[in-house]
C-alpha cells in the first residue's frame, strides 16, 4: 500500500528565514509520481509540483525548491526567504494509478 508521511505537523518561522518541509513516502510501484500542494486559508488546494520517479533532478522555481531522493524515499520542499504569504498547509502526495494518496500536511506559519 502507498503511504505518505509528513512528520512535521506545524512549523513556525519568521519572515526571510529558510524552511524545509519533509516528505517521506512508501510505495512498491517502480513508476510513480510525487506532488506538493499548497492550501492557503481560503481552502482551495493549489498545485505546486509534480515529479516523476525516474527524474531525480532537483527543481527550483523562484523561492521554492524540491529535493527528490529515491534512496531515502524522500521528496522535501524548501522555501527560501519565506514570506507571510507562504503561510498555509502544505501537502505531499503520491500517486497510485489515476488517484493520489496524501500526507497529513504541514502547517507553515510565517510571522512578520
Amino acid at each position: 500500500a502507498q503511504k505518505v508521511t509528513q512528520a512535521q505537523t506545524e512549523i513556525s518561522v519568521v519572515e526571510k528565514e529558510d524552511v524545509t518541509l519533509d516528505c517521506v513516502y512508501e510505495t512498491r510501484d517502480t513508476t510513480y509520481y510525487l506532488f506538493w500542494y499548497k492550501q492557503p486559508p481560503s481552502g482551495e488546494l493549489v498545485f505546486l509540483i509534480r515529479r516523476n520517479s525516474f527524474d531525480e533532478q532537483n527543481e527550483i522555481s523562484g523561492r521554492y525548491s524540491w529535493n527528490f531522493q529515491k534512496s531515502t524515499s524522500s521528496f522535501n520542499f524548501t522555501i527560501t526567504a519565506s514570506q507571510v504569504v507562504d503561510s498555509a498547509v502544505y501537502f505531499c502526495a503520491l500517486t497510485g494509478f489515476q488517484k493520489l494518496v496524501f500526507g497529513t500536511g504541514t502547517r507553515l506559519l510565517v510571522s512578520p
Binding site: 505518505v4 509528513q6 505537523t9 513508476t31 509520481y33 506532488f35 500542494y37 481560503s42 481552502g43 482551495e44 488546494l45 493549489v46 498545485f47 509534480r50 501537502f91 500517486t95 494509478f97 489515476q98 488517484k99 493520489l100 494518496v101 496524501f102 500526507g103 497529513t104 500536511g105
Partner: protein, 115 residues
C-alpha cells in the same frame, strides 16, 4: 479561468438528514474525486470516478455514495448524516493521462457540520 465549483461552502445539517454535495468542473476532465479533510488525518479519498456512470470506492466509502450522470458533475451523497461526518469535503478533477496520473484540480471545499 478553469474551475472546479462546489455548490456550498458551508452547510449545517441534522443527524439523519440526507445530504447532497455537488461538484462541477468545466475542464472536460474524465476523472473526478471526493476527499474529506480532517485535522491530523490529511485528505482521505472517499470515492472517485473515471467516467460517466462509473464509480470506485476510495479508502473511506462507508456512509457515502456518489453519482456521476454527466461528465462535468460528480455528487457526493450522505444517505443519513451522522456527527462523525462533520468535516471539510473537497472535490477534485483530473484529466485521464497515458501514464496513469495527472494534476488534480481542487474546488474550494464544502464544510459540513452535522448536529
Amino acid at each position: 479561468d478553469v474551475k472546479v465549483t462546489q455548490s456550498s461552502r458551508y452547510l449545517v445539517k441534522r443527524t439523519g438528514e440526507k445530504v447532497f454535495l455537488e461538484c462541477v468542473q468545466d475542464m472536460d476532465h474524465e476523472n473526478m474525486f471526493w476527499y474529506r479533510q480532517d485535522p491530523g488525518l490529511g485528505l482521505r479519498l472517499i470515492y472517485f470516478s473515471y467516467d460517466v456512470k462509473m464509480k470506485e470506492k476510495g479508502d473511506i466509502p462507508e456512509g457515502y455514495s456518489v453519482s456521476r450522470e454527466k461528465k462535468e458533475r460528480f455528487s457526493l451523497i450522505l444517505e443519513s448524516a451522522s456527527t462523525n461526518q462533520t468535516s471539510m469535503y473537497l472535490c477534485a478533477s483530473s484529466p485521464r493521462t497515458s501514464d496513469g496520473t495527472g494534476e488534480l484540480f481542487f474546488g474550494e471545499g464544502s464544510r459540513l457540520t452535522v448536529l
